[in-house]
């Protein structure tokens, strides 16, 4: 199956294109955009970890190492497409246009962090594993019925492929031939469980066979490969050719979350080695240097700009008004039931009495 589903790569670890013809697809502008977004989300991610360590953020799920998979796939989307992320895909949602301050808020236990920007079709992060796949199938189905050219993308990890919802979502999407892309980030681990213990199939991509849809396996650290394969899948979706399963083979350097200790179950030296050889940002940097489009001044400038953007978002979050207790009660139904209304009234009486 690894032969039937070879890893699709456009750029090797030294930052060289593996096929001649690909050159003209890569304008300098596009390459810079890739680089910018990967630096941006990496900066966000590192900052979030450091804030968590200082007690200024709750438990956080890092993604460093997966920037090419997340930014590359998100950049392939159209503005009207739907995004169904997990708790780890804020790199993708930020690239797609999620608000940065709100993304921090999410990690501070604020429900406001789930509310997408006006006009952006981003679902709240799916915390129960694999539950977002059927949603993506449904939203895509709606687009199909409405006769638009829009699609939906669902993000999920390798562990998610063991859940029933993964299979149910893929099957529904394929039976109804909906414009969905199932974007898997295979980072080799679901918390402590390595992929060999998660499944007996050699690849995630081959699971597409069972559903009669195209499956592709891409080098998830090669942003060119991720971007163009996602574009292609979206193109098929928009033409009415149904869903695609993409397996982006990648690696996350850090812990599952800031509450976890990977050294208990994982050899971290492999992680360090991957950082030296396959890191998505370093690889793109090598490419840019090879192509003579590396510009020290420009990279310093965007890094400064991004640092300022992140700092600004943090200032915004830290001066955000305290959560309103009303929010606990007011969004459960359009009109609160008498039970909720009574509970709210009594609770506010008690709060008032105490104050």
């Amino acid at each position: 199956m690894t032969i039937e589903f070879p890893i699709y790569q456009m750029m090797n670890e030294n930052g060289q294109l593996v096929r001649e013809g690909d050159k003209e697809r890569l304008t300098d502008e596009l390459v810079r955009e890739f680089y910018y977004h990967m630096v941006r989300i990496r900066t966000f991610d590192r900052k979030a970890i450091s804030l968590q360590r200082q007690g200024r953020l709750g438990t956080y799920a890092p993604f460093e190492g997966q920037e090419a998979a997340q930014a590359g796939s998100a950049l392939a989307l159209g503005n009207e497409d739907w995004v169904f992320p997990t708790y780890r895909d804020h790199g993708a949602t930020l690239t797609f246009g999620a608000n940065m301050a709100r993304t921090f808020l999410y990690w501070n236990g604020r429900v406001e962090g789930c509310v997408p920007e006006e006009g952006k079709r981003i679902f709240p992060p799916a915390v129960p594993i694999a539950t977002q796949l059927p949603h993506a199938a449904g939203a895509a189905w709606a687009e199909k019925r409405k006769g638009t050219k829009n699609a939906a993308i669902a993000y999920f990890g390798d562990g998610a492929t063991s859940e029933g919802d993964f299979h149910e979502g893929m099957n529904m999407a394929s039976v109804f031939k909906v414009p969905a892309v199932f974007f898997n980030q295979n980072n080799g681990f679901a918390i402590s469980v390595p992929i060999e213990k998660q499944m007996n199939s050699e690849t995630v991509a081959q699971k597409s066979v069972a559903y009669g849809i195209p499956g592709v396996r891409v080098d998830g650290n090669d942003i060119f490969a991720v971007y163009f394969q996602t574009k292609e899948a979206l193109g098929r979706a928009r033409k009415g050719e149904g869903p695609t399963l993409i397996e982006a083979v990648t690696w996350r350097y850090g812990a599952h979350t800031t509450a976890d200790d990977p050294t208990k179950y994982r050899n971290q030296s492999k992680s360090d080695e991957i950082r030296q050889t396959r890191d998505p940002l370093m690889r793109l940097e090598r490419y840019m240097k090879n192509e003579g489009i590396w510009d020290e001044g420009w990279t310093t400038q965007i890094q400064n700009q991004i640092t300022e953007e992140v700092e600004q978002a943090i200032r915004e979050v830290e001066s955000y008004p305290k959560p309103k207790v009303d929010d606990l009660f007011d969004y459960v139904f359009e009109t609160p039931t008498w039970t909720i209304a009574k509970q709210k009234e009594e609770y506010f009486q008690l709060l008032g009495g105490e104050a």
Binding site: G58, T59, Y87, N108, G109, R110, V111, G113, V127, P128, I129, A130, G159, A160, S162, E163, G164, D165, A190, I191, S192, V193, K197, Q198, M199, A259, D260, K264, Y265, P323, V325, D327, L328, F329, V332, T337, T339, I340, Q343, K344, Y347, L350, E354
Partner: protein, 338 residues
């Protein structure tokens, strides 16, 4: 078949442990004692579980006894059914109670009714362990407290300890029970309570509550992390000369009606405290039990202090969701001043 609580004599050695250590100890004791006992769940092996409840057990008993499974709750519970009918005693861990929903179908349609469906020919002697409850600033869904979804389904017992001693004793009783048991572990108490835990095998009887404080004026009934909230309110009330009987229910199905009746018939007042949502909560069954057995003894309406009828919120608001001792105290006063 009811299990007898073994008397703790002075000769039994005890050790001071946290609630989670008591659970690890109970699992170890039973893996040692009965080779049919198996542990399965996500990340329970090498990682020792995300809370370390199974820490060291795979090392001690091997990968055939303590098994990391794929990420598949329905698969974990469904295969446990097959293992249980075929001679094993599986103990399945749900990583968090809120992630039991994918397994709900297996529990509702098979775990709880296989005995009935086969007139006792097949039985499912398994335990489902699940950490639950709010108050630890966990992400969404991780803090759900939906025990009532399971007490409503006949065929499965529901147990919820609030001390280390009871955790180990009830866990062992659950493993020994011939029927399936849902074993709820209050996350908030995992490391915040410690008490003396006997070494080796002992059982705390399923279906029996425990009096954790004696009083005359009001009966407080709670379980899990809410026992401490009730205790705090009782201490506050005591300063004003109101004394409370505090009952830790320990088992939510079947409920110990005797301990409730004995107490409310003396006090004539009751306040039920649970962190799960009020509507359809286990508190309502307790109200019914009081109504059925002690109606004429009551001096005031029964009060319920529960989580609100809203999904357990993101953690920035969880302190407002969770019942506080202030709310319980307020309810105590209400019953007394009725």
């Amino acid at each position: 078949m009811a299990l007898k609580e073994e008397q703790l004599s002075a000769s039994i050695k005890t050790k001071n442990m946290t609630l989670i250590q008591a659970i690890t100890d109970g699992l170890g004791t039973m893996l040692e004692e009965d080779e049919r006992v198996l542990l399965l769940g996500e990340d329970i092996g090498k990682n020792g579980g995300v809370f370390r409840a199974t820490e060291g057990l795979q090392e001690r008993f091997g990968q055939d006894r303590v098994m990391d499974t794929p990420l598949s709750e329905s698969g974990i519970i469904g295969t446990s059914v097959g293992l249980a009918v075929n001679g094993f005693k599986p103990i399945a861990e749900m990583q968090f109670f809120g992630f039991i929903y994918p397994a709900y179908e297996q529990i509702m349609t098979h775990v709880s009714r296989l005995r009935m469906r086969t007139m006792g020919r097949y039985t499912v002697p398994m335990v489902i362990r699940a950490p639950y409850g709010a108050g630890i600033r966990a992400p969404e869904i991780h803090s759900d407290s939906v025990e009532a979804l399971f007490t409503h389904m006949p065929g499965i017992k529901v147990v919820c300890p609030s001390s280390a001693h009871d955790a180990k004793g009830l866990l062992i009783a659950s493993i020994e029970d011939p029927d399936p048991v849902l074993f709820l572990e209050p996350l908030k108490l995992y490391r915040s309570v410690r008490d003396e835990v006997p070494e080796g095998k002992y059982m705390v009887e399923i279906g029996k509550g425990k009096k954790v404080k004696e009083g005359e004026d009001v009966t407080l009934i709670a379980w899990g992390a809410m026992v401490q909230v009730a205790m705090k309110a009782a201490e506050q009330a005591e300063k004003e000369g109101i004394t409370c009987d505090v009952i830790d229910l320990r088992t939510l199905y079947p409920i110990d009606r005797d301990i409730i009746s004995e107490s409310v018939q003396r006090t004539g007042r009751a306040v039920i405290v649970h962190e799960a949502h009020e509507t359809g909560g286990v508190g309502n069954d307790i109200v019914s039990i009081i109504n059925d057995y002690s109606f004429l003894y009551m001096k005031s309406p029964i009060e319920r202090i529960a989580g609100f009828d809203v999904p357990v919120p993101f953690f920035a608001l969880e302190e407002h969701y969770l019942p506080t001792s202030a709310r319980v105290y307020h309810a105590i006063k209400k019953t007394v001043n009725f």
